[in-house]
Amino acid sequence: MSGHPPLLTGALALACGWIGIGLLGLLRPHSVRYAGRVLFPLGALAGLALAAIAIVAIWQPVQSLVLPLGLPDLPIHLRLDPLSAFFLLLLGTVSAGVSLFSAGYFREGEGAAPGLLGLQYHVFLGSMALVLLADDAYGFMVAWETMALSSYFLVTTQHRIPEIRRAGFLYLLLAHLGAISILLCYGVLQGGSWQFTFDAMRHAQLAPAWASAAFGLAVLGFGAKAGLVPLHVWLPEAHPAAPSPVSALMSGVMLKTAIYGLLRVSLDLLHQPQWWWGAAVLALGLFSALFGVVFAAVQTDMKRLLAYSSIENIGIVCAGIGLTLLFHAFHMPALAGLSLAATLYHCLNHAFFKSLLFLATGSVLHATHERSLGKLGGLIRRMPWVAWLALIGTLAIAGLPPLNGFVSEWLLLQSFLFTPEIPQPFANMLVPLGAAALAHTAAVAGYVMVNFYGVIFLGQLREPQLAQAQDCGWLERIGLSWLAAGCVALGLVPVLVLRLLNQVNAHLLGDAALVHADGIWVLAPVSPQRASYVPVVFLLGAALVVVLAVWITKGVYHGRVRLSAPWDCGYPLQTPRMQDSAEGFGYPVRHIFEPFFRMKRELPSPFDAAPRYRVVVEDWTWYGLYLPVAGAVLKLAALVGLLQRGRIAVYLLYSFLTLVVLLVIVL
C-alpha cells in the first residue's frame, strides 16, 4: 500500500502528538495543575487511541511509508506490521494507565518542574512508538537514542542526590554500550549492500558466520537494554532512582522494546536461525530468570526488589525466545508458534503487572516517604485501594491462576513439554533442566511476592509515623484499576489475546505457526486431549465453592465474632519489630542460594552491650566483571594520559607525525 496508509499515518501522528503534548508542557512549566489536569490526561488519551489503532492494524496487511525527512538521500522508512502493532498495543494500553496515574502523582517540589517532566515523559513515549515503527537502521537508532536520553533525564529527575546521578550515569553507560552493539549489528546485517533499510536487510544474503555475529551483537545490544545477566546492573540502580511512574514505564514498556528489537532481528531480518542460537538464548534467559528471582528475594528496598523481579521476567521472556528459535531452527512451525505466543503473552502480562506494582510502590512512597521494606508494614489498613489493587498484581506476578501471569507460564511450560521432539540429543535434554528451572523460578517468584506484599501491606505498622499514611487520590486509583483490570482480563480471556498473537505468528513464522483455540473460552493450544485451560469456568467453579462455604458456615452455624488482642502462643510482649522484616523473610533464600551472593555479615558477640547485626548482599558480577573492566579502562586512559604534555610544540609534533604516517599509508 503506497500513498497514505491510514493506520500507519495515524500511529505516526499519535507518536508525534505525544511529543507535541510534551512541548505544550513548556508553556507553563511550573504549574502542577496544568500538567496533572491537561498534559497527562491528554497523553493517556493518545495512548488509548494508539492501542485502538494497533488492534485494528494487527489484522491488516503490512503498511509502509517513506518520510521525506532526514539527511539527503536517507529518508526515514516506517512500517506497521503485526509485530510492531502488537508492541504498540502494549505501549498504548499500559502507558494509558501509567499516564492517568501520573496525572495525580507528580507534585510540587520533587526534582524537575512538572512541565519539564511532562516534556521528558511524553518524548519518552513518542520515541518508544517511533522505535516500534521504524523500518530502517537510521530511523531506529535515532528513535532508540532519543528513548535512552529522555529516560535518562527522567531517571535523574532528582538530580541533586548524588546516588541518583550515579545511577543515571550507569544507566546511560550501559545504554550506550548496547546502542553501539546494535549499530554494529545493523552494520553486519546490511551484508555489503550498504542499504540500511530493514527491507534491504531482509533480502541480504549473509554467510552463517556473519549471521551468527549479527545475532550475537543483537543479543548483546538488546540484552543490555532488557537487563539480561550480566548486563543487568543498571536496573536495580536506575529503578529506585526514578520516580515511580517512570520506573513503571521503563520496566513495563521500555524493556519490551528491547525484546521487540531482538525478535525483529532474529525472526524477521535474519532468515534461518541456527539451533545453538536458541539454546544459548534459552540458557541465558533461564539463568537470568533464576538469578533475578533469587536476588529479588534478598532485597530490602521495595523498588530494587521489583527491579530484580523484572530481570527475572525478562529472563523468562528470553527463555521463550530461545525456545522459539530452537523450534524454528528445526522447522517445527507449530511449536515455534506456541512458544512465540507464550513469549509475547508474557511480555504483555509483565507490562501490566509490573507497571501496576511499581505504581503501587509510588503511592506507598508518597504516603510514607519510605522505600525500605524494614520500615513499612500494615498499610492495608491505611491504604486499602492501593493494597487491594496491588494484591491483584502480586498474585498475577506470582503466576497464580486465574490471573494473567499463569497463562503465559502455562503456555511456556506446554511448549517445554514438546522439546523431546527436537532431533538433537543435547537440545532435547534441555527440557527437564529448562522446565525445572522455569518451574523453580516461578515458585521462588511466589516466595518473593509474598515477601513484598506481606512486609509492605500486612502485619502491624513498623513505624509510628505510618499511621499518618493516606490512600492515593482518584486519578491514581483509576490508573491502578486500569492496570489491575488488564491483569484480570488477560487472565480470563486468553483466547482473545491468542487471536491477536496468531496474527504475529503468521507474519513471522508462517501460517503453520497458528495456535489453536476452541471458541472464546477454551484455551487448548495443541488439542483438547493434550491440555486445556478454561480460566473463566475455573474461576466460577472456585468462586461457587467459596460462596457455598461462606453461606453454609455462616448461615447454618452462626457468624458471631469477638475481637481481642492477638494470641501469638501467649507471649505477653510483642512489638511490631518482632515481625519478620524483609531480611528475615529472605533468610532461607540467602541460606540455600548462598553461592549466588557476595555476602558480608557482621554478627554481634554475646557480650555486646549494644548488639548490631548487619548483612550486606551484593552482586558478584559487579566485582567479577564490572570493576575489573573499569580498572582496565582507567589504566588505558592513564596510558593515553601520557600523551598529554601541555606544550604546544609537542602537540604539533603529534599532528606532524600523524600526517607523515597517513601519507605513508595512503601513498
Binding site: 511450560l413 506484599y453 512486609v455 472456585a542 467459596v546 458456615t553 455462616k554 452455624y557 469477638r562 481481642s564
Partner: protein, 318 residues
C-alpha cells in the same frame, strides 16, 4: 450426548462430595495408624469430624487488627481444595470440570492456596505468623516445582497434561515397567510428606516453636475459620493421595462409557486409601523429624529425583 454429560456431571459431583466428606476420615485413619504403631491408644476414627463440629459451634475470636484478607482466606483455602478435588480423577475419569484445568493448573491452584494462607499468616503481624509464612513458602518453592516435574514425567509418557487423560492412558496400557515413574513416585512421596506438613518436615501434632510450620501460620485462627482450615488440610492430604493414585495406581477408575463402574470404583478407592494411610503412618513412624534447615535438602532431593525421572524418561524412552 445428554446421557454422557449427565454421567460426567454425576461422577463430578460424587467425586467432590466423596472428597469433602471422606477427607477427615482419611486423616483420622492416618492418625489412628500412627497411634497404633507408636503403642499409644488411638483417638476415635471420627475424631477430625468431632473437632470440626466443635470448632464450628464456637464464637470466632479475631485479632483486633485483622484485615478483611485474614477473614476471607479460610474460605478461599477451602474453596481451592474442593476445586482441586473436582479436577483430580478419584472415582472416574469422566470429569467435565477437568477440561478447565489441567495438572499444571492444579499445581497453580495449590500454589494459590499456599500464597493466601501465607499472606493471612503475615496479616496479624506476630512473630510466629511471619515465621510460619516464611517456612511454608520455603517448603513451597522447592516442593512445587518437584510436583510439577512429577506431573511432567507422567505427561511425557501419556502426551497430555490433563489428569483424567493421564490416568486413562496409564491404566489402559499393557503392563509395562516405567523406571521414570519409579523416580517420580519416590519424588512424589517426598513432596506429599512436605506439602502436607507430615513428619520429616513438620509435625502436625505439636506446637513446638522451633520447628512448626503449618501450625505457626494458623495460630491466630479460631472457631469456624480454624474448622475450615483444618478441613482444607485434610482435603489437601486426600487430594495428594488421589493424585498419587491417578499417577501410580490408576486402575479401577470408572470410564465415561461405563457409569456402573462407579459402584466398585468407590470401594476400591476406599481400599487404596486404607493402604495409603497405613503406609503413610508407617513412614512417619520410622522417620525422624528433620531440622528446619535440613528440609531444603530433603526437598531438593525430591526435586532432583523428579528431574532425574524426566531425564530417564527421555533417555531410556521408558
Amino acid at each position: 450426548m445428554p446421557p454422557m454429560i449427565m454421567n460426567g456431571l454425576f461422577t463430578q459431583l460424587l467425586g467432590a462430595i466423596v472428597a469433602v466428606s471422606l477427607a477427615p476420615l482419611f486423616l483420622g485413619w492416618v492418625n489412628q495408624c500412627r497411634a497404633w504403631l507408636s503403642n499409644r491408644s488411638a483417638p476415635p476414627l471420627l475424631q477430625p469430624y468431632l473437632v470440626i463440629r466443635k470448632l464450628l459451634h464456637k464464637d470466632a475470636v479475631l485479632a483486633e487488627n485483622a484485615s478483611p484478607l485474614f477473614r476471607v482466606v479460610p474460605y478461599i483455602l477451602f474453596g481451592a481444595m474442593v476445586t482441586a478435588a473436582a479436577i483430580i480423577p478419584s472415582l472416574g475419569t469422566a470429569l467435565p470440570f477437568a477440561v478447565c484445568a489441567d495438572a499444571i493448573a492444579l499445581v497453580g491452584l495449590f500454589a494459590t492456596a499456599r500464597v493466601f494462607i501465607a499472606l493471612a499468616a503475615m496479616d496479624i503481624g506476630t512473630a510466629f505468623g511471619s515465621m510460619g509464612a516464611r517456612r511454608e513458602m520455603m517448603v513451597g518453592f522447592l516442593a512445587e516445582p518437584a510436583l510439577l516435574m512429577v506431573v511432567f514425567t507422567a505427561s511425557l509418557i501419556c502426551g497430555s497434561t490433563a489428569l483424567p487423560t493421564i490416568a486413562d492412558t496409564l491404566a489402559g496400557r499393557t503392563l509395562a515397567i516405567y523406571p521414570s515413574l519409579a523416580f517420580a513416585g519416590v519424588a512424589f512421596l517426598m513432596v506429599l510428606l512436605a506439602e502436607n506438613a507430615r513428619i520429616p518436615i513438620d509435625n502436625p501434632a505439636t506446637h513446638l516453636e522451633l520447628t512448626m510450620i503449618h501450625e505457626a501460620m494458623v495460630l491466630e485462627y479460631s472457631a469456624r475459620h480454624l474448622a475450615l482450615i483444618e478441613w482444607a488440610s485434610a482435603l489437601k492430604l486426600f487430594n495428594y493421595a488421589c493424585i498419587g493414585f491417578a499417577l501410580f495406581l490408576p486402575w479401577g477408575l470408572a470410564h465415561e462409557d461405563n457409569p456402573l463402574a462407579l459402584l466398585w470404583a468407590l470401594p476400591l478407592l476406599g481400599l487404596k486409601l486404607i493402604a495409603a494411610g497405613a503406609g503413610l503412618a508407617l513412614i512417619e513412624t520410622v522417620s525422624a523429624k528433620l531440622r528446619i534447615f535440613r528440609a531444603p535438602e530433603f526437598l531438593a532431593m525430591a526435586f532432583m529425583l523428579a528431574v532425574l525421572g524426566l531425564l530417564v524418561r527421555l533417555l531410556l524412552g521408558s
